[in-house]
């Protein structure tokens, strides 16, 4: 009973032993598979995989190159920007200095002009004062003579009185100064 379960009813067939036909067909199938696969079917698959690997590698390298180029250009731009900024600062500083110089110059010139105007005004004032003094001198002389004549109620010889008048006026002038 048990033996028949293990080995089957057909004692001629042993499940462990190989059968000739099966061996031949499996070997032929396997060998033909290997031959066709190695010779024809595998290479195109491998080729596209290799191509892809190469493409990916190239793309990565190209991307890396582009990145480096971008970094370089960026650095260049930054440099230029920095230089531009320095140049602008320099120009501003220069303009500031020029303006300062111009301001000082204008101020100096204005001061000089003002001093000149003042000096000239002083001079003309002195001249006018001199003229007025002279006029005053002669008027005062006339007035004094007239006054004296009226006071003494008689006619005095002008020629004999003039030296007295001059002396008086110079004394008055000396007191007035």
């Amino acid at each position: 009973m048990h033996l028949s379960f293990i080995f089957g009813a057909n004692q001629a067939f042993n499940p462990i032993l190989p059968a000739t036909g099966e061996i031949i067909w499996s070997v032929v199938s396997f060998i033909v598979l290997l031959a066709l696969l190695v010779k024809f079917a595998f290479p195109p698959v491998k080729r596209i995989m290799t191509e892809r690997t190469a493409k990916i590698r190239n793309d990565i390298e190209a991307a890396e190159k582009a990145r480096l180029e971008t970094e370089r250009v960026l650095a260049e731009y930054r440099n230029q920007l920095e230089e531009g900024r320095k140049e602008a600062n320099r120009l501003i500083e220069e303009a500031r200095k020029t303006a300062e110089l111009m301001r000082e110059d204008l101020l100096r010139r204005a001061q000089e002009e003002a001093a000149d105007i003042k000096r000239r005004a002083d001079e003309s004032l002195m001249i006018e004062k001199e003229r007025v003094m002279n006029e005053l001198r002669s008027s005062v002389g006339d007035l004094a003579v007239e006054l004296a004549s009226r006071i003494i109620s008689y006619e005095v010889d002008r020629v004999s009185v003039d030296p007295l008048v001059v002396q008086f006026l110079s004394e008055v002038g000396a007191r007035a100064k």
Binding site: M1, S4, F5, I6, F7, G8, A9, N10, F13, N14, P15, I16, L17, P18, A19, T20, G21, E22, I23, I24, W25, S26, V27, S29, F30, V32, L33, L34, L36, L37, V38, F40, A41, F42, P43, P44, V45, K46, R47, I48, M49, E51, R52, K55
Partner: protein, 257 residues
Amino acid sequence: MFVLGSISFPPIGELLNWKSILFGGSALALNKIGLITLAAAIITIVMFALAGRGAKLVPTGLQNFVEYSVEFVTNLIVLDAMGPEGITWVPWLVGMFFFILFSNLFEVIPFIQMPATARTSVTIPLALISYITFVAVGIKRQGLGKYLKGALIPKGVPLPLLPLLIPLEFLSTFIVRPFALAIRLFGNMLAGHLLLVTFAILSEALFVKSLLLIALPLPFAMLVLVTGYEIFVSALQAFIFTTLTAVYIGEAMAGDH
């Protein structure tokens, strides 16, 4: 026929002894096993041919699957077991992997439900091909003497131990290796096949015997589970067989024990 209660189990012979379809009676008799191995080879070739013919730089569908499997064999089997030197063996090992995988997977394909690798007629020739290949590679790369010396005499072993170790190494490398390769694959696939048959028969018998219907879900659930498990085992055994072949060839190429 073995009868348990009223459930009848067919004898193992009946599960594996397939009648010939063509060339019956001759040495070339083609039966279900032969057809499955042929189908496994044809599916693999067609798969690669289709993937390679319409190959695009950005892969889709089948090309994606095929390329992934090539990457898988390259990285997880060839580079791990053989190093960069073994890269020329990739097509060979890819072929072996898919041939075994598809031969195994017919175990769960409805109406076929038979793994070709549950027959020693398939696993012994495969193991022998692997064996002949690694021995040939060893002899070609290193010469017969150096190869045998490297394979049989472990480095750094004291001289007195050699008479004991050389026969052991010979047994392990040249006898046990091919035997183990063949038996591992055969045993795993046959066991899986028998498990599936057992649960299928139980489910069927319980389905017929309406009184026992209450117990039907258990064997049927087991049948579903075991089917899923067998898909995993199919891939695993194909991976193991291919990896071991790669390791043996890699060892023969490197020469160091």
